[in-house]
Symmetry: C2
Subunit: 205 residues, 2 copies
Amino acid sequence: MSSPSKERRDRLLLAAQRAMAEHGTAVRLNQVADEAGLTSGAILYHYPDLQDLLVDATRAVSERFYEERVRAIEGIEDPATRLIRTIESGVPLDNEDVGVKLLCALGGAAPRHTIYAILLTSLYDRQVSLYQSILETGSALSVFTLKSPSLDIARNLVSLEDAYGYRIMAGHPTLSYGSAVELILEYARLATAHKLIYKSSKEKS
Amino acid sequence: MSSPSKERRDRLLLAAQRAMAEHGTAVRLNQVADEAGLTSGAILYHYPDLQDLLVDATRAVSERFYEERVRAIEGIEDPATRLIRTIESGVPLDNEDVGVKLLCALGGAAPRHTIYAILLTSLYDRQVSLYQSILETGSALSVFTLKSPSLDIARNLVSLEDAYGYRIMAGHPTLSYGSAVELILEYARLATAHKLIYKSSKEKS
DNA sequence: AAGAAGATTGAATCGTAATTCAGAAATAAT
DNA sequence: ATTATTTCTGAATTACGATTCAATCTTCTT
């Protein structure tokens, strides 16, 4: 039993992620099974405790989310462009995003479930570090003139992303991907004293 | 049946709020009954559909939260003080805050439950209006020099509060009430070009 | 204080989901 | 191809929560 092959494991994690995005952290075993196209017994065969599967699924989402952001800026030299691209990669395009939907559910569960609190806090801190290193580099190259400590700016940037993510997932009528990015950029401009001219990366490429 | 007296109604709403704070929006009827010190039948007698009770409980929390913020600044003239006090009133003191715990749970459920999305979006917008009117007044009196449209600043302020609320509720090891308020104030200073000297309202009075 | 209306209980019932497991199906090994 | 191993199903069992309701307790009315 246990330790399913990499392939099957991924299939289960995918199913658990979709099920959690749809039903929250109180998702039922049957709902995960449905999503996987299997019966509940099959899930239990690999994960005798559903919670373990949910936590693994959650860790995978968190990891993927972070990795995608790192990938979005790899190869880019200019700190201003790096900052803009990072902001863009932190906001969900619409309220269909499965990963962000799941992360929202985690946020709601974190006050009640330590494990989710730890995972989310860790994701937050890693994103803060990502921003901080961009800010520090830009500052060192005299591209940015930081108006607050880099840690503070980084925390505020990640916080803004998070909050606008929630707004977008809740379907706010006048807050779209574009306006959220623009709002965060407005803060970034104040905090870095850089114009950060935003040429949406979504219209070309 | 139905339409319980104001007193009993409040007792039920309180119980539902506590239960939701503890168990999320997927709270069980029995858990609400336990919190109320009643049996499930008694709850059903007043609210044949649990969802109705949960929504009413949610609306009450949202209302109370907003009203408290309004009350926190009533009588204060100076726009800078009003702004500071408003920021202070938007951040939970610690991760025990039942109201904010509930609001977090709502945020997690909003992508899946329209009714909660509507309630939360409405709360967000009302808070934005609150900030906006403070900013506009301060601007009109030449106390603030707004570096972005007041709507944008207001949205960012509420967003920061929200996000730090989540962090605090998740027990972030280095983000406390005080540091969150300071981080939001740092943005507010940049956006208003006002020093906003923060004399914590918690140490006196 | 008697009676009526309102509120609550506790037991019975129903429904749904979790769990178990013998055996079938698929896959891998020889 | 045969055997062994892994994976999965479907049915049976068990557990739990929702729902119903007759009986009881409370509270109000007069």
